[in-house]
């Protein structure tokens, strides 16, 4: 048997059609994607490579020279308590802000869609925080959350609750920042969900009604949620990434304090690189930050993505 296969001449198989159209498709795809790819390389990849390189140096801002120090920065990172602390804080922040803003965003989008009056008003109201200029908003939040003269605590006092020291105490500062983070991102997610809702064929709701999905909740689970699958994956990914990248609020509101209670990754990196000027070390931090996240997000995306597309 083995001999026979060995001597038999290769049979001419009819040419697969696949290759041609696929090759063409691939070529076109390359062409369409090329500008984006070039720009990604130029404005994202190249700087990232530069950052990675810097991570192996002792470069400090202001000095024109630097030397390579190998993995020294990474070694230092291992024992850096601040880095660990900010890693933890970032995780906590993300664990609060991402789910809360996704759920609220979805809820608000659904509520607004099912309402007939004041849609424009509500959309705008929930969107406004997205458009807010944080430099100014920081002041406002400082005041609103002021432990003694702030309106929030005044209201709490009215109903007999003690007002916490929102931004001042190490115990609450992270939650306060999370709250502000949610405030900022709900509108963002709402818009995405609103856009996602438009892509759902009306026919499916008809079918659902006919099938006896009486309550809006039934229809939500039967049609809306699954059909929003891709949008939800997108929103989730973006929400997590944005939460992990929290920076501005921390910088303008608490500067990481008190005593590092609101120290988050990007703030730490910024602090190292631009305030302490140790760009090399900050770069190493950035690399670790990116490596962890890229792997995590890509895995998550591939895993979930397969499930939601039909």
């Amino acid at each position: 048997m083995a001999d026979m296969t060995a001597i038999s001449l290769p049979v001419e198989k009819s040419r697969p059609i696949v290759n041609v159209s696929e090759r063409h498709e691939a070529r076109v795809a390359w062409m369409l994607a090329a500008p984006a790819m070039i720009l990604i390389v130029l404005f994202i990849l190249a700087p990232v490579v530069a950052v990675i390189t810097l991570g192996f140096t002792d470069f400090e801002l202001g000095y024109s020279t630097f030397k390579f120090v190998g993995f020294e920065n990474y070694a230092e990172l291992m024992g850096d308590r601040t880095f660990r602390q900010s890693l933890w804080n970032t995780a906590v922040y993300t664990a609060i802000v991402a789910p809360a803003s996704i759920l609220l965003g979805l809820g608000v989008a659904l509520l607004i869609e099912s309402e007939t009056v004041g849609r424009s008003f509500f959309r705008t109201a929930y969107f406004l925080p997205v458009a807010s200029l944080l430099v100014a908003m920081a002041t406002v939040w400082q005041y609103l959350l002021h432990p003694t003269i702030g309106p929030v605590n005044s209201l709490l006092n009215l109903i007999g609750l003690p007002g916490p020291n929102w931004l001042g105490s190490a115990g609450t500062v992270l939650y306060s920042l999370s709250m502000i983070g949610v405030w900022q991102t709900v509108g963002f997610n709402m818009i995405l969900f609103l856009a996602g809702l438009t892509a759902i064929p009306r026919d499916l709701y008809s079918a659902a009604e006919i099938d006896g999905a009486k309550s809006p909740i039934d229809r939500f689970f039967l049609v809306t949620l699954p059909m929003l699958g891709p949008t939800t994956v997108f929103v989730t990914t973006i929400s997590i990434i944005n939460a992990v990248k929290v920076f501005e609020t921390v910088k303008t509101l608490t500067e990481g304090g008190p005593n590092k209670a609101s120290e988050v990754l990007l703030f730490t990196i910024y602090q190292e690189g631009f305030v302490y000027l140790r760009v090399g070390y900050a770069s190493a931090m950035t690399v670790v930050f990116l490596a962890v996240l890229v792997v995590m997000m890509f895995a998550q995306y591939r895993l979930v993505d397969r499930k939601v597309h039909y």
């Binding site: 400090e60 801002l61 202001g62 000095y63 024109s64 430099v135 920081a138 002041t139 400082q142 005041y143 002021h146 432990p147 003694t148 003269i149 020291n165 931004l167 001042g168 105490s169 190490a170 509101l253 608490t254 500067e255 304090g257 008190p258 005593n259 590092k260 602090q271 631009f274 305030v275 302490y276 000027l277 140790r278």
Partner: protein
């Protein structure tokens, strides 16, 4: 004609001052044109911008650098040494009120890297209404920390959401320095090789902080929160820079009787106070421009500059002539008693200490973090101080 590009931080604060100074300067020096680069929001970002731009064509000719960052800038050879210019100008320098004390503020290891432009020191603000209500005499403000604490406790006892004290410990080590230097202490040993702030002076300093919380019930405020509470009339004493004076006056308006006084010192005899503010620094390496830049630097830091800065901000005059001469600030202080506290403290001003080495800035943060542990009572003052000292020791350059 020479055009100078000038960069400065905190435009909300300095824009009017800069406009005024440069206008006058151009009137006096028609051959020099002043242009402003986009200002930076804070000192911190200002120096970042300069460091980034150092050596590029974008680098401005002059900038204003926070006094505590001069050392760092100098380590990176960013400022031009002013000694040669001063040597040429020796006579007129003294005449224009650049005293040695003042010059020292902008020296790093004896090198004149800039001229102090706007300087401040920490003072005590107080709400006379609250002091009165608590049984104190507003005309006789507390002179020692003990008195502050005692009166603070009484104010706190007034209730109704009123707090005793806001001590601006956040952000940097400036106010800690105020306590430390006020007790006669120093940050490091003379040769900068050992940590010295954990000595008895430092312990006293942290103890004050601790007692402010424990005995006077000082709350944990963020910087902005403290400021807002004070101007709302809900805080008895606020300890912070004179630089905030002008704005505080505006924010308080007629809501209550705002007063200022000298800050209590743990060592009333030898106590010193750190100097905040900034110095004008020449960056341009272009010799032709340098002369013009020097002219401008001298003008800005000179009496005219000071006479513009002081009323607009609350800073203390960085120029002796300006303080005394009727041509400049003259009777300003008589008319504005609130500004006097800072002025009276001028003789005690010493440079805001900048730590050596690449971790210099980070040391500041370490001190702030440990201060915060005291304020939120998560650590005993001795403990926090020791931790700070240990950490700072680690961060100092090993020699």
């Amino acid at each position: 004609e020479t055009t100078l590009t000038v960069h400065y931080p905190m435009p909300g604060f300095f824009k009017d001052v800069m406009d005024k100074v440069s206008k006058k300067f151009m009137e006096e020096n028609p051959d020099i044109k002043i242009e402003f680069a986009n200002p930076s929001p804070t000192y911190e970002e200002g120096i970042q911008t300069i460091m980034r731009q150092a050596g590029t064509s974008e680098m401005p000719d002059l900038t204003f650098i926070g006094l505590n960052r001069l050392r760092m800038a100098d380590e990176r050879s960013i400022p031009v040494d002013l000694a040669p210019f001063m040597a040429k100008d020796k006579a007129s320098m003294a005449e224009q009120g650049f005293s040695d004390t003042i010059l020292k503020l902008a020296q790093v290891n004896g090198k004149q890297v800039g001229l102090a432009f706007a300087t401040s020191n920490p003072i005590m603000y107080y709400n006379a209404d609250l002091v009165k209500a608590a049984g104190g005499n507003p005309d006789q403000p507390p002179k020692t920390w003990d008195e502050v604490i005692a009166l603070g406790a009484k104010i706190k006892a007034l209730g109704n959401g009123v707090d005793s004290v806001d001590f601006r410990w956040q952000g940097d080590d400036w106010m800690f320095s105020a306590l430390l230097f006020g007790a006669g202490g120093t940050m490091l040993s003379e040769d900068e090789s050992k940590v010295a702030f954990n000595g008895p002076e430092g312990q006293k300093a942290f103890a004050v902080l601790d007692r402010l919380v424990k005995e006077a019930g000082m709350p944990v405020f963020t910087k902005a929160a403290g400021e807002q509470a004070f101007v709302a009339g809900k805080v008895g004493f606020a300890f912070q820079t004179t630089g905030a004076l002008a704005n505080t006056i505006k924010n308080v308006g007629g809501k209550f009787d705002l007063r200022t006084a000298e800050i209590p010192l743990l060592d009333p005899v030898n106590g010193k106070l750190p100097t905040g503010g900034n110095a004008v620094v020449i960056l341009t390496k272009d010799e032709a421009k340098q002369d013009a830049a020097w002219k401008f630097a001298k003008f800005a830091a000179g009496p005219y500059g000071a006479s513009v800065v002081v009323p607009g901000t609350g800073y203390v005059p960085n120029n002796e002539l300006a303080a005394k001469s009727p041509e400049y600030l003259g009777d300003f202080y008589a008319r504005n008693p609130l500004f006097q506290a800072g002025l009276k403290q001028m003789p005690r001003m010493i440079p805001w200490y900048a730590f050596p080495g690449s971790n210099g800035v980070r040391v500041t943060q370490t001190i702030v973090d440990n201060s915060s542990r005291v304020v939120d009572q998560s650590a005993k003052p001795e403990e926090a101080l020791e931790d700070a000292a240990k950490e700072v020791k680690r961060l100092l350059p090993r020699s």
